[in-house]
Structure formats: structure tokens, C-alpha cells
Symmetry: C2
DNA sequence: TTTGGCACTCTCGCTCCGAGAGTGCTGAAA
DNA sequence: TTTCAGCACTCTCGGAGCGAGAGTGCCAAA
């Protein structure tokens, strides 16, 4: 596409994303192309419309980018907006104050992304394929009731009340704790399974069974953590003035089970994914754009974090800030050994 | 107030809460008072309006309950709606599936309340004045990095990464763990403070300091957990058709710090509190009603759970179901020893 | 290829109007 | 004294009509 057409498309996108009003040839002329006449711009606009990149809400209105228009913009025209110092500091401070466990970090990441992009955000927890036990603890609650505490890789704490068939004293449990820690800590879940198979019947096997159940749940992702934040930001946008639009988005966000799959699937192999309007498979996200990237302490452990907003979104700003948060979170997690 | 006036007020409230349309004399006559003429009902309506219990959106519209109308209704006319078996089962199942820790339970309670009342819900965690340590654990991460795990009353797990000034082996830590557990477990936080004062300088004092910090944070309520759910339910109501109304409510709900104070303050000493429209101190909750009750495993540990919805709310249903969930949660928590 | 000029189209906000719903009042009946 | 039928009145709501304004597409000239 010729340079000038690109420049005009870029201008239309920029203008529309900031003002939310269809942009006409005169506005473009006075603000972007002073040395062109509005008639010239009009004919360019008409051609861009023929190419499918622009549309008119009605015959005598200005132009609005179509989904393909946005697509062309993010693929070829967008350059990342530099992040103001104020925002960078904010991101750093927020992440520094994050707690030392994965779950707390995921929430913090979602919060921060929502705040700096002024849209809704969604984040899933980094998750390896095999859970690793870092530490294990057994606490006697009642004679036949034991609290099992598991510390997994990522400083993830899991607890479960186990009703044992035989009574056990705290001393018994302390002994078992030492034994389990010696054989299991630092090991992946398959090690626990091997021990389980080899264990004699009784308390030991009972408890190992529950350990495995917890690990399983984590690995199978049935307890996969997905959080979202910043829906209130959407309410500020004119495209969400009728609350039914918000309702649709909320429905997607609150359907946690589906969402976690969706995120993994969307992100695929790439490190940055932008899904615009009709490209969304879910009809409830029509009119919305989703920007996703990955984050995590290592290549093995990657979570997904993303922004959901109207297609009329400041993509260059959103992408820059989203990536900044993702990078910051990854660094912080590596640093914390999470 | 005469019986008939009461009956009419009750009918107006009932009719309006179900249809969200101002109710006229004819509608009342045909559906509730077949043996009265609409003219008679009209004069009663006029008197109820004079008393301040009803209002007209405009001269020739039907009547709508005022805030005082709702107030009179909940104080004198409301009788709790029986809860269908289906709903009772749902509540029981949801609570049964709740995890064995306070935080998980709070979330479950909020979710369940939102689901059965079809409004937004909010819940704060039960909190005693003094934190009790149930169990403590120390895990070596790096030579000079220790993960402190605290199990508090209510099966609340707290963790913190501690950077120690001197290196410590896991054996050192295991020894300290045993010592701490012997002296602290089952004890309130003041015991920890006494030990801290008496402890010699070094690793022991360092770690005890962090234990106290965690307990402090919990007791001072700076980390007070408040969750909310079901905002999407509000979006279904006509009074929230303009999204700015939702926005205001969301702002209140997301201001967690303020909310926890507000809840405690609103509930005061009573066990059921209903705040209707203008009775709310927050201007952002105008047009909204808040129904609150307490729940928790014991008299010492009480949290607050509530419903937020339009003033046009099915009070008799809301109150009944809210109380049912609160009772169920209390029982379940007592049972779990949370 | 660009540009000024011009006719054309469509929205938006405004007013006007009639239908419909619901009220308040009045005078008579119970 | 209460109830009620009848009636005039008020107000909303939706649709129609209209003018202003914004923006376009096209054309002929530079």
C-alpha cells in the first residue's frame, strides 16, 4: 500500500481511538495533512473503504476503521508507544510489592495491567506440566484428623484436611513428615506416585494418596487459576454505554473454566497475540479486542496475561504496557524463585 | 395503619418488585382486590402517598414505593419467603464443596449468595481480635533465604520469604521449627510477642519478628479479606441499564479497604441489617439496598455477608436466602473447625 | 494527480400530535 | 361514612415532520 494511504489509515485509527467519533476528511486535513486538500483525502478514504479497511456508519458520516483496518494497523503500522516514567515506576512498584507466591503474583499482574491499560485484564497462572513438591508438612488437628500442607514449586501452598482411618499423634506425623520430605522434596509428582505404589498399607499410604490427589488436581488444571480485573474501566467507554455489552464480556470473564482453555489456545505458540472483533470465536466478544502475551519465571512455566477492551483500543499503548508488565512480572518471579 | 392500607402497600411492593413497572389502581384491583373498586384503591393509594410511602414518577403514572415505603414493608409487613428445595439443595452442595480454609469459604459464601439471590454479594472474613497460631513451619530456600509458613486459626495459611542475615541450614530450621511449635502453637499472638522480647539476638529473634509481623497484619485487618461477586446479576435489572449506575456500585465494591470498615460499621450489633436507598451514607449507593447479616463458626469469629441490589429488591426472598447461606456456612465452618 | 465547487444524503435534535394509561374529583348510592 | 361510577385532566411515549449540519461523491478545471 502506498505510503500516503498508510499514513491516512494510521491517522484515522489514531483519531478514532482517541475520540470515539467517526473521522471525516476535514478533521484529517486540519490535524494531520495540512498540505493536502480535503478532496484528495476524501478520495483516499474512499479507496481505503473499497479495500475494506474503513467503513462508514452511514452515508454521510466520517470513516471508522473496520476489523481488517485495525488488523492492518497492528500488523504493519503500529509502533509501540513509549511508556511514561510515571507509569514505569508504577508498574515496578506494584510488582515489587507483590507477595512471594504465584497466586498473589497473578492477581497483582491482572490488577496492574488493568490499571495501566485502562481496560479489563485477565491473567492465568504459570503452570508447568509436572508439579514439584518443595516441602510438605503434617499437622494433627484431632486424633483422626490431619492437616496436610504442601508447598509446591512457585511457593504455592495447598492444604487439605484428611480424615485418617487410624488415629495418629503429632509425633507420628512429625516422623512421617521428615520421611516424606527426605524422599519427595524437590521431586516431581511421578516420584510421589512411585512411593505410593511401594508404600505399605496404613497411614503412610493414606497420606501419600492425598498428596497425589492434590498434585493431580494441580496438574490436570482443574483448579487452574484465572483472575480478571478492571471491568469498571470498560464502563467508561461509550461502546459499553448499554450495559448489555458489558454483560456479555462479564459472562466470558466469569466463565473461568472456559477462559483458561481459551487463553492457552489463543496464545498458541506466539508470544504476542492480538484478536480483533470478528476474529474472536466467541460471539460475545464481538466488538472487543483481546491482546495477549505470556509471562513467567522460565520457559517451562508460562502463564498468559491479556487485555480485553473495545476494538477501538489504543493498541500501541496497550501492547507496550502489557509487555512491560509481563516482563516485569517474569523478572520478579525469577528473582523470587517462584 | 389500617389493615387494608397495609395490604395495599404490600401489594404495591410485591407488584413493583416483580415487574419493575409503576403499579396502578386497576392492576391492583384485578390482581389483588377483586371486591374493591379501582376508585377506592385510588383513594387509598393517594393516602399512602400522603404518608410518604408511595410516590409517582409523574402525575399520571402508577405508584412506586418510596424508600420509606420499603422501610415500612421490611419492618412490619414482610414475612420470609420459604426457600424451594432446589435452592436449599444448591446451598448445601455449594457449601459442602467449599475448601477447608476461611478464605476459600468466604469466596464460596459470596458466590452462593450471589447465585441464590440473583444480586451482587459481598462477604468479609470472620476475624477474631487475636490471631492464634496453629502450626508453624520453616523451609530453607537458599542459604540465607527462609520461607516462613504459618497456619493460623481458621486454617489460614500465611507465607513469607525471609532474608536472614546469617545462613541457616534446613537442620537448623527444623530444630527451630520444633521449638517454635512447642512454645507457640495454640497460643495467641501476645505469646509470640513475649517470646520475641525474651529471645536472644540472631536467627531466632529475626524469624520471630517476622512471625509477629504476619500476625499483626492479620489482627490490624490491613489484609482484611473482602470479596464480592454477582455484579453481572445487577446488569440484568432495568435500573442498571445505563452503565453509569453499575459503575458507581462497582466503585464501592472495588474499594476494598473502605468496604470492610463499612460492613462492620453497618452491621453494628444487630444480626440482620437492611439499608435502603437514601439510608445509605454513600451517595454512590443511592437507589441501592444493602442487606447484611453475620456468619461464622463462633460468637468470637464473625464475618459479614450481604446482598447489594436495587431498592426494588425481593426483600422477603433475599433475607430468607441470605440467612440460609449464612447459617449453612456457620455450621460448615464449625464442623470443619475453621 | 490534485483541487474547488456543488449537489446529495443521512443523522440529530426539535417540535407537534394523538393514543393510552392513570389519576383526582364529584355527586350519588349503599 | 364509605364505596363507587363517571368524567375531565395530565403526563408519557412513539411516530411524523422538518431544518441544520456534517460529510460524502462526483466533476471539471488546474
Amino acid at each position: 500500500m502506498e505510503n500516503r494511504k498508510q499514513a491516512i489509515l494510521r491517522a484515522v485509527v489514531h483519531e478514532f481511538t482517541t475520540n470515539a467519533v467517526p473521522v471525516g476528511s476535514q478533521a484529517l486535513q486540519s490535524r494531520y495533512f495540512v498540505n493536502l486538500s480535503s478532496a484528495t483525502i476524501r478520495s483516499e478514504l474512499a479507496e481505503l473503504a473499497d479495500l475494506g479497511y474503513l467503513a462508514q456508519p452511514h452515508t454521510s458520516a466520517g470513516r471508522v476503521p473496520t476489523d481488517s483496518g485495525y488488523r492492518y494497523f497492528v500488523d504493519f503500522l503500529m509502533d509501540l508507544e513509549p511508556i511514561p516514567d510515571r507509569v514505569q515506576t508504577y508498574i515496578r512498584d506494584e510488582l515489587k510489592a507483590a507477595p512471594g507466591d504465584v497466586e498473589g503474583m497473578v492477581e497483582r499482574v491482572a490488577m496492574t495491567v488493568a490499571a495501566v491499560t485502562q481496560n479489563a485484564s485477565v491473567a492465568s497462572a504459570p503452570q508447568g506440566t509436572l508439579a514439584r513438591i518443595k516441602h510438605l508438612d503434617l499437622v494433627s488437628l484431632e486424633p483422626k484428623e490431619v492437616l496436610l500442607i504442601l508447598l509446591l514449586e512457585g511457593n504455592l501452598l495447598r492444604q487439605q484436611v484428611v480424615n485418617t482411618s487410624e488415629p495418629a499423634t503429632q509425633a507420628d506425623l512429625t516422623r512421617l513428615t521428615a520421611q516424606f520430605n527426605a524422599s519427595l522434596s524437590g521431586r516431581a509428582s511421578d516420584e510421589a506416585r512411585r512411593h505410593y505404589d511401594g508404600a505399605p498399607l496404613g497411614l503412610e499410604k493414606e497420606l501419600l494418596g492425598r498428596v497425589i490427589a492434590v498434585l493431580d488436581m494441580y496438574e490436570k488444571g482443574t483448579e487452574n487459576l484465572v483472575v480478571h480485573d478492571g471491568v469498571r474501566n470498560l464502563l467508561r467507554q461509550p461502546e459499553f454505554a448499554e450495559s448489555s455489552r458489558v454483560h456479555q464480556v462479564l459472562e466470558v470473564l466469569e466463565e473461568t473454566r472456559y477462559l483458561t482453555v481459551l487463553l492457552r489456545q489463543l496464545i498458541g505458540e506466539s508470544d504476542l497475540q492480538i484478536v480483533i472483533g470478528s476474529e474472536n470465536t466467541s460471539s460475545r466478544l464481538q466488538g472487543c479486542a483481546v491482546v495477549l502475551t505470556t509471562y513467567g519465571p522460565s520457559d517451562r512455566l508460562k502463564g498468559v496475561v491479556g487485555v480485553i477492551g473495545p476494538t477501538r483500543m489504543a493498541y500501541s499503548q496497550t501492547v507496550a504496557r502489557l509487555q512491560a508488565v509481563a516482563r516485569g512480572a517474569s523478572d520478579r518471579m525469577a528473582e523470587l524463585g517462584v
